[in-house]
């Protein structure tokens, strides 16, 4: 057993004693009831289980949760799909996903949303030329699997958010 304290969507959970073999995915879904984070392949291949990890320096990245021990998140601050909307207002990316009907079954959506959000935050820190935008989006979303094959719609939704505020995201 190891003590786990983790901040999720701005709220601190723990300290809690958890088994060393507990995955972060089980901790989120089974311990906390945060079922927006999905369990897909169980091998970090589909990334439907990906969450955002916020570094103290202001950068962020995604991590799968299905193969990663919960205790490895001790002391970290993460965001899940439940944390994107603020005061009931969907984020720009969430709205774009809906506008583009970027999901069908929705199972992969949380992972795509988190990855897209990380991309937006990365571009806000370091803009890219417009000519590199398509490649940048494709590379960012690469690795996320959608069995409904909604890839282009996710891509278009992310692109729309970026092009809606080019001075923020593009050189």
């Amino acid at each position: 057993m190891t003590t786990l304290s983790v901040t999720i969507n701005g709220r601190t959970y723990g300290p809690t004693e958890v088994r060393d073999e507990l995955t972060m995915n089980d901790y989120l879904r089974e311990y906390l009831g945060l079922t927006g984070t999905k369990f897909g392949c169980g091998a970090a291949q589909c990334l439907s289980c990906a969450v955002i990890i916020d570094n103290p320096g202001g950068t962020s990245y995604t991590s799968p949760t299905c193969i990663v021990p919960a205790v490895s998140f001790n002391g970290k601050s993460i965001r899940t799909v439940e944390g994107h909307a603020k005061d009931g207002e969907l984020s720009a990316l969430q709205k774009a996903f809906i506008d583009h009907f970027a999901f069908q079954c929705g199972y992969c959506t949380a992972g795509f949303l988190n990855e897209g959000q990380v991309l937006l935050e990365r571009l806000a820190r370091k803009r890219v030329p417009r000519a590199d935008l398509e490649k940048t989006i494709a590379e960012a979303l690469d690795g996320h699997l959608c069995r409904c094959t909604g890839y282009i719609k996710y891509h278009e939704a992310v692109r729309e958010v970026i092009l809606a505020d080019p001075q923020r995201y593009l050189l």
């Binding site: 073999e21 995955t23 169980g42 091998a43 970090a44 291949q45 990334l47 990245y61 995604t62 991590s63 799968p64 299905c66 193969i67 990663v68 021990p69 490895s72 990855e115 990380v118 990365r122 590379e139 960012a140 690469d142 690795g143």
Partner: protein, 195 residues
């Protein structure tokens, strides 16, 4: 001379009945009967080559940008790439999944420095003789001296994981200290490469 030739043949054969099992390494002393220094040196490297060409080492010294995994050396799943620093691409960094230690419930190996060898150090698909020449070449060994190579194989913590990989992974032959001793003896005898 005859005895030395017979010993050499025994040590360098992969099928001799007297060969040690694949999971063991011969000590440098076993090569002492080989009178010719260059031949002995090459034989020492050949023995150490059991480690260098083992999946535990080869999987992270791929020829391409994608590591391999498992004893059958399949391409890494999920698809990942080396990246500029050997720690993966921005969205798929090695340490995100590979923690400081193995996580057996998910079958994920771990080490604090889990990463790929640089592209120029790829061994996959090469003969042991080619790997030997590569290891000696500072342009293709990370600027290391031969002593550095001995240290890398014999003492490096990440390399040491190969002898205690956990799960159902086959460990590298022998021990890390034995592998380091073999390479040290190889260096001391002139670092001759096998043909």
């Amino acid at each position: 001379m005859l005895a030395a030739t017979a010993l050499l043949a025994m040590l360098m054969s992969t099928h001799a009945a007297s060969d040690p099992p694949a999971e063991t390494l011969a000590t440098p002393e076993r090569f002492a009967a080989i009178a010719d220094t260059a031949t002995r040196s090459a034989a020492l490297f050949t023995e150490a080559g059991k480690v260098l060409t083992h999946p535990r080492c080869m999987n992270c010294h791929p020829a391409g940008d994608r590591p391999r995994q498992g004893d059958i050396q399949r391409l890494h799943q999920p698809p990942v790439a080396r990246g500029e620093d050997g720690f993966g691409l921005p969205a798929m960094r090695c340490p995100i999944c590979h923690q400081a230690a193995n996580f057996d419930p998910a079958g994920v190996p771990g080490n604090p420095a889990w990463h790929l060898a640089p592209h120029e150090m790829g061994w996959e698909g090469r003969t042991l003789a080619q790997i030997c020449e590569q290891i000696k070449d500072p342009a293709r060994n990370g600027g290391r001296s031969l002593e550095d190579i001995v240290h890398h194989v014999g003492e490096d913590h990440l390399v040491g994981w190969a002898w205690a990989p956990g799960g159902d992974r086959a460990p590298a032959p022998g021990t890390q200290a034995q592998a380091g001793a073999l390479l040290n003896a190889w260096v001391q005898t002139g670092a001759t490469c096998p043909n």
